[in-house]
């Protein structure tokens, strides 16, 4: 485990941001931290970054109790991000890289590599003010990963990115994962969760309400519903019930009476109609999110 969070509690004057949160994040995965706005995601991220300290509970990084030295192994891209506007891009990245513990020579070497790789050599001496928003986002991303952190924390990384930069970012994230970096990635955009994450945790009202590997979570939320396409007249049967019917494209959603007894359902169906398609309905993370958040209100 790169990160083990045990019973973390964080209270503010007028509310409790985290009420006993426990999580385990395995090495080398992309971990989605989901939850509606105000659920406590940012509070948890700030604790992992040691920006604030928990009131109760403990956090372990790579098996050790979280300590100041660990900041050098964590990269953090906050949701609200910015740079020193008047400072030159090169100076700024050198400063941020050295704050993360790189030596001057090493910071310079690595930054040169990044500038060559992203083909942005002529930015080095430009003040940040002169860069477009997309260019600033690239600069920020370099600042987040230049010290090659073991754990990368991205808070709503795609917000404000245009599709081209979002794609570049996605490729970079996958490339970092290939090299063994663990990525903790907080979002409420479910499409990026489906696309990128290996595991998720859903936080609502200051508590973890759902956690697990992506496919396992999906399976948990299966309703044993199947989509069928057919021709003929579909009637009731004791092996399934019809949840909805769409006669205009000859399809329907059915729910099996006995989970996993697909063969008997198919047998019942082919007695009534000509069956073209029989497909399990896999719940989307959007549905799961809405369902779980709704249930835990």
């Amino acid at each position: 485990m790169i990160l083990t969070i045990q019973n973390v509690v964080k209270r503010y004057a007028d509310h409790t941001a985290l009420a006993g949160v426990s999580l385990e994040i395995p090495k080398g995965c992309i971990f989605g931290l989901l939850g509606p706005n105000g659920a406590g995601k940012t509070s948890l991220i700030r604790i992992i970054n040691q920006i604030t300290a928990p009131d109760e509970g403990q956090v372990f990084f790579d098996g050790e109790l979280l300590q100041p030295k660990h900041v050098e192994q964590i990269g953090y891209l906050p949701e609200e991000r910015g740079l020193y506007k008047k400072m030159k891009v090169g100076d700024q990245l050198m400063y941020l890289a050295q704050l993360k513990g790189l030596s001057k020579a090493e910071a310079l070497n690595r930054l040169k590599d990044w500038f060559i790789r992203l083909d942005i050599k002529d930015w080095w001496n430009k003040p940040v003010d002169d860069l477009s928003k997309g260019m600033q986002q690239k600069t920020q991303f370099i600042a987040t990963v230049v010290h090659e952190p073991k754990l990368l924390i991205l808070d709503e990384p795609f917000s404000g990115f245009d599709p081209i930069n979002a794609n570049m970012l996605k490729d970079e994230i996958l490339a970092l994962k290939e090299r063994g970096t663990t990525i903790l990635f907080s979002t409420h955009r479910m499409e990026s969760v489906e696309e990128l994450c290996d595991s998720i945790a859903l936080i609502n009202h200051s508590q973890v309400v759902l956690t697990g590997e992506k496919d396992e979570v999906r399976n948990r939320f299966k309703k044993h519903a199947y989509e069928v396409r057919y021709s003929g007249d579909l009637g009731e049967s004791k092996s399934y019930e019809i949840i909805s019917k769409a006669p205009e494209n000859n399809s329907a959603i059915i729910k099996l009476a006995q989970p996993d007894e697909t063969n008997s359902a198919i047998a019942a169906l082919i007695k009534q109609v000509d069956l073209f398609e029989f497909k399990e309905v896999i719940p989307s993370f959007n549905d799961i999110f809405i369902q779980v958040v709704g249930e835990t209100k």
């Binding site: 503010y12 004057a13 506007k85 704050l99």
Partner: protein, 436 residues
Amino acid sequence: MNKILLVIQREYLTRIQKKSFWIASLLGPLLITAIYAVPIWLATQDKEVKRIEILDESGSFQATDLVDKEVEFKLVNKPVSDLKGSFSKEGYTAFVHLPKDLLTHSEDIKIYSEKNLSLPLKSSIERVIEKKVRAILMKDAGIASEVYEKTQVEVSSETITVSEKGDETSSSSGGAMILAGVMGMLLYITLLLYGSQVMNGVIEEKSSRIIEVIISSIKPYQLMLGKILGVGMVGLTQFLLWIVLTIGLSQVASTFYAASPMKQKVEQIKKVDPEVAKKMDDASPMAEVTKVIESTNIPLVIGGFLFYFLFGYLLYSSLFAAIGSAVESTAETQQFTFIVMLPIILAFIMAQFTMQDPDSTMAFWASMIPFTSPINMMVRLPYGVPMWELATSMILLVVGFLGCSWVSARIYRVGILMYGKKITVKELAKWLFYKG
């Protein structure tokens, strides 16, 4: 520690790379030099001599009585109505009408001019008339003019400070007052100037949102400390540049003075009259400066200045940093900056009284309380302060700084992450007791 150095380095370099820093560094000494050089330069310029007509109905004046450096008088004998029409056409600035009964009604003198007379010209005219009228009145009263001359004494004194051991030093009250005033002013300006630079730096980091990235690498107090020290070093650099440039420019200015006709004139006068020469030397600013240097403990004053600048700056700039952290833009800072500026302004006002009576009870307390002590102790120092008072004041200032920076650091660490909330003073007080 290494990371604080990085912050200091960034704060320092980004500021001294700005054009505005160099403009201020160059303009400062130029202004100081100009304050001294311009009056000297103006004095070397020949003044235009004003011409005045005098209609003397009393008959007391002869042409020989009417001599003045800057004014040329001419006695005339024409009716007032004629003079009114003619004086300006004939190139006179004004004409003066002296009534018949001048000796008894000296307030009836009338000066006619086209434009308002300048005050110095009016007093030159009055001085000349006064002198003559007084001489006539003296004579009438039976006082010989020699007796009158003898009674014209000028009193001047030399002040000497006596230490407990009985050592005597010739002191300079005027010089000490000037030195005190300059130092108080300098501290006042720099505390406000560099304090608000720290505040704006904090606001910049918060409003550009880079703050969260930075404090994921270092602790908030490290960032705050680095910023305060970096800006403080910019302040010291500026002092140094000012001192070096002012000395340099004064050298240049005095070289020019030595080669100027003014200098030759002064030398001529000195040769003719040794007594005048001595008086001139005593009154020149250089003599006053030399006297101050001889009579004050210069290392103590310079050391004191650096100490009170450093700790006064540290105390106030940490408060300014706390304010910067609590707001989101410079526009919102007013109500809070006022709270911090109030003691600085108060200290400066108190310093005006301290300067006049450096040993009063008020001056004593003003130089002990950490918020007012930097300016007030600096004002007292050139007059001489007992060692125990100085030591107590310094210790209290350091304690005050530690207390303020504790308060500030606690407000700062909460404030920098607080957005979209209208902050009140009560709210700030609550932040002091937040955990972690």
